[in-house]
Symmetry: C2
Subunit: 451 residues, 2 copies
């Protein structure tokens, strides 16, 4: 088979890159290893009319590309439910409603706000195109985010909250990322430490009618037979003028350029001939996928709303440390999403499902009352076991990675270009970043092929 541009991976970034390539008047061919499109987007039907979003679920107010794409594809959106009080269960205290909690911890929460302001100020100094060029990059990349948190000497409640919120974004313990990477993650979102606020500072305000999977599915439909499923790419050969992409089943695709729209760690598993430069290889050895898992409790109705609760919990007992109300727009049933992130995903993700379910239901009962004891459905989704994903939400960098290897993240290697949300400069780690990266990669290709 042949095309102008071979795209590896039919996640959001790969599909959107193919669309951009097509719009530039070039012919793309998308090779997807899995038997479905969507990558880290996966809407799963639990029962007729009941869905869960195992993967990406929300967009935010400034996710303009995603909003435009949904509009173009005719996919409606609805607002995340945000009414009512959250519930807090921290440092040995019984569950408190948000107003009680705020009243009890006024001073600690003020200290937290100050810490967030300091984070804002620091993250504002990280140049998104070149985090290694931040004036204090060497200093920030030599320490972990956990060490920074320790150095703040926050009151325990404030420290715990900041840590829970950070792990909620990075999906790894703060000891596993450098301070520079944490600051980059705030800065790439353009909303700074607001990201720690409820609804993640505008990152999680909006959902899609019928589920997020409709977006990659619609993109794939528009590409038609330019998307091939069940084609794991094993080898990419290149010479001066072309690339040859070999799939497991024997399919060979030739093109002028290739866009690898996989997370860096998955991109590293393809064999490249000639081999990639060492700096690029050592970078991808150092960008592990994080550890996130979503567990959904579905009920006949969102009964907590009547109690004035938002369905958002914060807990340091767990198993889940945060939750969200993910009921549908019409509230025709109730659903709580309980996040398992970082060590929570690693610990409880390895439990037998029945035990994990039981522990999560017990937690929901503590926060939302006895009606939480009887969900109609329980579903959870683990990503590290999935061979074509191997971890969510995205990649993280420990100390030394940005400054020593970051320069190799986005530049093409000859005719090989890199997409995936990890290579975005805006909203890296989010669906919006997947589009940002796709536009850049497709732009690189189009510029060269137009010469």
């Amino acid at each position: 088979m042949s095309a102008d541009v071979i795209v590896v991976g039919a996640g959001l970034s790969g599909l959107y890159a193919a669309r951009e390539v097509l719009r530039a008047g070039l012919e793309p061919l998308v090779l997807e290893a899995d038997d479905r499109v969507g990558g880290r987007i996966l809407t799963q039907q639990v029962a007729p009319g009941i869905d869960v979003e195992i993967g990406a679920q929300w967009i935010g107010d400034t996710h303009h590309r995603m909003r435009a794409l949904a509009a173009e594809l005719g996919i409606g959106t609805f607002a995340q439910f945000e009414e009512g009080e959250a519930t807090y269960e921290l440092l040995g205290s019984p569950v408190l409603r948000e107003n009680e909690f705020h009243a009890a911890h006024r001073h600690e929460l003020a200290a937290l706000d100050q810490a967030l302001e300091r984070l804002d100020e620091l993250s504002g100094q990280v140049p998104l195109e070149a985090p290694w060029d931040a004036e204090r990059a060497a200093e920030w990349d030599a320490v972990t985010a956990a060490r920074w948190l320790d150095s703040q000497q926050l009151p325990p409640v404030a420290e715990r909250l900041l840590e829970i919120c950070t792990v909620g974004i990075l999906a790894v313990p703060m000891a596993e990322v450098s301070l520079l990477d944490m600051l980059y993650n705030l800065q790439t979102c353009g909303v700074g430490a607001q990201l720690f606020a409820e609804s993640e500072g505008g990152a999680q305000t909006t959902r899609f009618d019928g589920g997020t999977s409709r977006i990659p599915q619609a993109l794939a439909e528009s590409l038609g037979d330019r998307v091939l499923l069940g084609q794991p790419v094993m080898l990419i050969e290149r010479d001066e003028t072309s690339v040859t992409v070999h799939c497991r089943g024997g399919l060979v695709a030739r093109g002028q350029h290739v866009i690898v729209a996989l997370s860096p760690t998955l991109a590293s598993r393809i064999m490249y001939d000639p081999p990639l430069p060492g700096v690029r290889d050592q970078l991808t050895q150092r960008m592990p996928q994080a550890s996130a898992m979503k567990a959904f409790l579905t009920y006949d109705e969102p009964f907590w709303r009547a109690d004035g609760l938002s369905g958002q919990l914060i807990s340091d007992i767990g198993p889940s440390r945060m939750s969200n109300d993910t009921s549908p727009a019409d509230a025709s049933y109730g659903q709580v999403l309980m996040f398992l992130e970082g060590e929570q995903a690693r610990t409880f993700g390895r439990w037998p499902e029945a035990e994990r379910r039981e522990a999560l239901i017990a937690e929901a009962v503590r926060h939302f009352g006895p009606r939480a004891a009887s969900p109609t459905h329980y579903v959870d989704g683990e990503w590290s076991d999935r061979p074509w994903t191997r971890g969510c939400y995205n990649a993280n960098m420990g100390p030394g990675v940005w400054t020593n290897f970051g320069r190799a993240l986005t530049p093409p290697v000859g005719p090989i270009h890199w997409a995936s949300t990890e290579t975005a400069t805006r909203w890296s780690g989010y669906m919006e970043g997947a589009l940002d990266a796709a536009i850049r990669a497709a732009g690189e290709v189009a510029t060269q092929l137009r010469r």
Copy 2:
């Protein structure tokens, strides 16, 4: 093709595993991606009669398996040259000879000794078979080795020396490994913090006549046509009773078991069907190969010896921070090995060779005098660019990896067994560890096939 046991990788660990398999009365087949055997062992001829060891070079006094293997293969050994004074260039001071340096820094060096004793005491608490079971594992795995060093508040000279020696062993900055991993690295050698002493506490006392490569070459010869070169393994399929291993060129090898004798990061690049468990996959995403490079200056004779110098330098100016006299046993020529490790390898490894050579020669002149200005030969060797290695000396673990994922390092996955020095419990990271891992992996296979 078929055999009882397929071995992936003809580095020392793979070759030795194949030998052990053969000794157990089973038939091995070794598939090597490269066009040579030896992996991270690479003796390179610079000119007739002049060699350099681009890779592994030394064994130590307690490397009993390596000593026995060399004796069995009829490969002689000789002692590392250890006479004379080292030279020190630290914290803005001009180059001092060892005696001057020790006299000038008596108190700082006493503080260093105390810090090493503390490290010894801590590392003694790490169980080699299960570092995650150390009583303080959670605490030690939540911080970087750099943070531990900071907490010691050592005098600057002592701190700098400890850092240089640590990077000399780990080949990554101390900020990139957890304290637990650093302690594990000391404990696995069984000599504790002696490893920081000159000649690395018995890890670097002895060399091989004719070069280290003679060992894998002799092993490969003894295996005959059971070793196939130029066969990159891309896919390992398994079922209840067999494995099928697919190479790039189309070769298919069937066996009952497979031993993957690659570093964890390279092992992760093979496609497995069915896929490996998520915990194993996330582990290998988090075990990057370190960054080491060796540069050799060859001279007509080891002229520094006549000046009472050992050829060992310590410098915080660099490019090299440590060196060794690697002249041959008969001193028929002189040779200084200048190590580039961690950030030194990353920074200077990316310079054009001529500039790197010039900077290293200038450093040698500072330490060994004007005769160092005119080497007869300069050779350096980089490992991250080599597609079948991708970094030396071995893998390291950042915070959280041992405690969250370490349990998945050595256990077989069905008929798939893991070798490579990274999976050893004794002398992990060294040639001795490659044998230790090979013996374990071959033993697992033999036990099961004898049932």
